[in-house]
Assembly symmetry: none
Homo-oligomer: 191 residues x 4
């Protein structure tokens, strides 16, 4: 599947350049060069730069979901489910720092806003594992009686800062620490 290899190379090159230098620090010509393809070739796989950026985000999002859902059971107790998702996410971002930085860049851009709006206002079948978890937690009266988005913020907001500081080398986020942060977040949302 030669075609897909090229597409993957382009996505990989875009990931590295954008994660490290931001959207404007990643000209199409450089992405092409890094991917080992011609500049025009990118446009065979992606309509334009915006589409490339959005599709790359979707791919990363998909990988993240796949990873954190491994071993996840929506039948388990709320606490367990929460800790599972939280810790897996920490591990993922620490293992794939470029993904973290890309996703961060993405969310701080016009794309990100639209994306978030879609997700939140999206249809039920498209619903997030996270929101499902919090809904269950509310129903079971295990979590504080707060809006879903607030619970989400309390649960995953700290991660953005913590992972960023870890990636930039301000401190070391090891397994013990991840465990502790996850527990602390649980303290924040549990009733």
């Amino acid at each position: 599947m030669v075609k897909c290899e090229k597409r993957d190379e382009i996505l990989r090159a875009a990931l590295v350049l954008i994660a490290e230098h931001g959207f404007h620090g990643a000209p199409m010509a450089l992405i092409a060069e890094r991917a080992g393809v011609g500049a025009g070739t990118i446009y065979r796989y992606f309509e334009n730069k915006d589409v490339l950026i959005i599709e790359l985000f979707r791919e990363i999002e998909g990988k993240i979901k796949e990873c954190i859902l491994k071993g996840y059971s929506s039948e388990s107790p709320i606490r367990e489910r929460f800790l599972h998702l939280n810790k897996k996410l920490y591990r993922y971002f620490i293992d794939f720092p470029l993904h973290f930085r890309y996703v961060e860049q993405y969310h701080n851009s016009p794309y990100g806003v639209a994306c978030r709006r879609d997700k939140i206002l999206g249809e039920a079948d498209n619903q997030d594992v996270f929101l499902k978890l919090f809904e269950d937690g509310l129903t079971q009266r295990v979590l504080k009686d707060l809006p879903l988005l607030i619970l989400f913020s309390l649960a995953f907001g700290p991660m953005v800062f913590a992972v960023r500081d870890h990636i930039f080398g301000f401190f070391e986020l090891n397994d013990t620490l991840i465990e502790q942060v996850a527990e602390a977040c649980w303290d924040g949302i549990k009733r």
Copy 2:
């Protein structure tokens, strides 16, 4: 003072455009037009675009600090100090959503990283109110025994998500809710 009015117009125009469209969505020519000045005029007040961006950040940072320190006493109990800072910050960002969006953009850029690095690795006398608070909290054994940066993440990470969702209109962040979130964050960091 006519001179300062012009400078302020430029800063205000930059704030609006950058907050709404990002750094690249705010060309100097547009900032000038919106500020009602000639393109070259900006350069009488700011050496270049980078300097404009950095000075705007510093001005906002100053206003934020001034606001949240109003009525703040570093002699009060940790809990009270924390809730004061946390709630004031929520209020500030809700009252000045453009400031919030600007600061967010800023922190997700080379400027922001350098700035964060300076702040974290800064000298003790230059220290942040926030870090001071957490240090005191650790000394008094009121807070969980976690690295300062983790405590910071737990305390203020949720705000980024919550305020963003509020500004984008996904839900209403009223005083009651702010109170509850602040308390929840306290639950996250208190021993």
Copy 3:
């Protein structure tokens, strides 16, 4: 080779515009227009305007050297060698007046000074035909015992004025006259 044609068109356009209007009288946009290419195309061949200017000089310098060395033998008597170089150079500049004006502009610019410094302070193996000639002339005690740079000035200084006045049409510099000027210069440097 189509590629080189474009590069040559750019160099030719730059030559004409700079020779006639100076470095600032030759904006890149105008060079591009005259060369029949897009403005950005220039940058595929030359890193920036400075590089374009320098490379154009090197090309001209190369052509000059190639031309004047045709039929030149460093084994001939000093006088013959001198007259050969001198007259060939006159002919060249009369045949390519744009080259003359370009080289003049170049030498009266930061580029030119640096270039001259390099040439003068250059290593022996890199040495100029002219300096070699004067060194030989000194060794053989055929020339006045003066510094090399003075001999050079005496030998080629007059050419700058004479060719310039010819090009601007103030008088006609024909073969007889060239012969006479060359002889007069020889009178100036010979012992």
Copy 4:
């Protein structure tokens, strides 16, 4: 005469900046600053930058003439007159290197061409001391039978190179050397 002091300061500032950095390296604002006047003030004394440049050249030209004509007698023998002018000119340029560099820049610009054209095609009463000297030399059959402009080139062309190399520090042009070069130039033009 306060007004003239300001005018002189402007001319002096322009001289230094243009001599050292060229016409484009000398923005009006910088000239004004260096002259200790407001930017707009320059336009009270000079219609625009071109006029300033031209008038500065005229002033320098006047000073040069005044200097070299000191002790000059058009009744003296040709050789003596020539050596007098030649050596005085060397001395002048060595004493006022900024004047030399300014005049050089000027001659390599659209201004210079027009200026030279005017002088050469100018009326008899406006005639140059130099041309007068060569005319006399021809009449007296002391000089080679060559066009005036050629004689001029032979006589003063070497100076441009020699002084330039001296100013840039490539060698030291002392009194003995000046004497020798002047004599060598005489050898070039004398019959």
